[in-house]
Structure formats: structure tokens, C-alpha cells
Amino acid sequence: MSISVNTVFFALYRDLVGASTLAVELPSGATVADLVEELRGRGAPFDSLPTEPAVAVNQTYAMLDETLGSGDEVAFIPPVAGG
């Protein structure tokens, strides 16, 4: 059993990764941390992402141990600088 999540990259992370969205397959029960590890394990350019980035799952800030479900939108959020 596996799930598919939609990852989204913004600002600096979009520049680093060279893409704004990416569908990723993960084993069922995977957490945000597992997703980060999976991506970074792919090597360049993904290994330039932080090991413990800020993320939002379905548009809400989430911790790294949050369990993901199929179809979740996981956004990699660089340090914010609004205003």
C-alpha cells in the first residue's frame, strides 16, 4: 500500500528545487519527516532542502511527525517575510 502526496515549493525552495510542484509516492503511514527524507535521498537538487523544514499540510502549519494521507498537499515553507 502506498499514498501519493502533492508537494509544493515556494520562493527560495522553488529556486533551489527548480519546480513548484511535485507528486511523491510514499508508503502508507508516512510522516512529513519521511517525505523530507525521501526527497533529500534523491540527491541534487533536493538535498539542498533543509533536513527540518517548516511545512504546511493542506494549508495548515504542521509538525514533522504528522502522518500524511493520500492526496494531501504538503507545502515547503521557507522562513516567512511578509509585511
Partner: protein, 157 residues
């Protein structure tokens, strides 16, 4: 102005911000004080001449987050007439990037709510800005880790 018990207006998008209109949204005959705060693109950053700025945002999430911030201000600070807009896209020097209007019976609530909203925007709103310098270079402005994610940055950008 009219009698209006509650107004919460939030918007994130590329439209130019009309701060006068924003202020006129919040007034009520019950209120004795109102504040308009605007953030504008300035021509320098850390001593470097700046020629312009680009604001990127996770727009849908910013809308939710801005509504949460406004609702918190209303609940904690005793005013529920407030309007907030944050702009996205390419901005020139002097253009408004963010505007907050608050109206309340007495002045303390307006001051406190306005300050709360701008501080929370800077901490939590998924918005990023890139500075364009007079010398032709550019860079992302260093930001703040939002709360609620447990993120840390050891040995990574």
C-alpha cells in the same frame, strides 16, 4: 459611517491596495477611534539602495491565516471592525505592500489590534519577498520560522 456591529475583511492578491477605501470599510457610528497602518516598499535595505520588490505568497493559505489572525485580534483585543490586505507581485518604491485598518470605540483597542495583526503577519503569513537592488542583483529577504511547525535549520539554508 453607519452602525455596523462586525466587519472582518481580509484579502491577499495582486490588486493595488486602496488604503483610503480600506479605512472607510471599518468605520462605525459607535467608534471614536480608527487606525490605518500601511507598509510600503522603501528605497533601501541594510544600507543598500533598493529599486523594487517582489512579493510571493501561498495565496490560499495566506487567506486562511490572515482570517485567523484577524479573528484572534477581534476576540482578544475587543474590536471586530477590521480590514487587512496584503499585496503580491512586483512592487515599486512607495507602493503599499500591506494595509491594516481597525476601528473601535476607544483608541487603545485600535492600537493594540493593529499592532497584533502586523506582528502576526510577519511571523505567520506564508509570504516571501525578493529585493531588487540598484546594482542589478537581487535576493530573498531573510525571514522568520513560522510557529507550529517544529522546523529548525542546522546546516541547511
Amino acid at each position: 459611517m453607519a452602525d455596523r456591529s462586525s466587519i472582518i475583511h481580509c484579502h491577499v492578491g495582486p490588486e493595488e491596495i486602496d488604503s483610503t477605501k480600506l479605512l472607510s470599510r471599518v468605520g462605525s457610528d459607535e467608534d471614536g477611534a480608527a487606525i490605518l497602518f500601511i507598509g510600503v516598499v522603501r528605497n533601501h535595505a541594510d544600507g543598500r539602495p533598493v529599486s523594487g520588490m517582489r512579493y510571493d505568497s501561498y495565496v490560499e493559505m495566506s487567506q486562511h491565516e490572515l482570517k485567523s489572525i484577524a479573528a484572534e485580534a477581534a476576540e482578544r483585543l475587543g474590536t471586530d471592525r477590521l480590514a487587512v490586505e496584503h499585496r503580491t507581485g512586483e512592487l515599486q518604491i512607495g507602493e503599499i505592500s500591506v494595509a491594516i485598518a481597525v476601528s473601535s470605540p476607544h483608541r487603545a483597542e485600535s492600537f493594540d489590534a493593529t499592532r497584533y495583526i502586523i506582528e502576526e503577519i510577519k511571523k505567520r503569513l506564508p509570504v516571501w519577498k525578493k529585493e531588487y537592488y540598484e546594482d542589478g542583483t537581487d535576493s530573498w529577504v531573510e525571514g522568520t520560522l513560522p510557529p507550529g511547525t517544529g522546523a529548525r535549520f542546522k546546516g541547511s539554508p
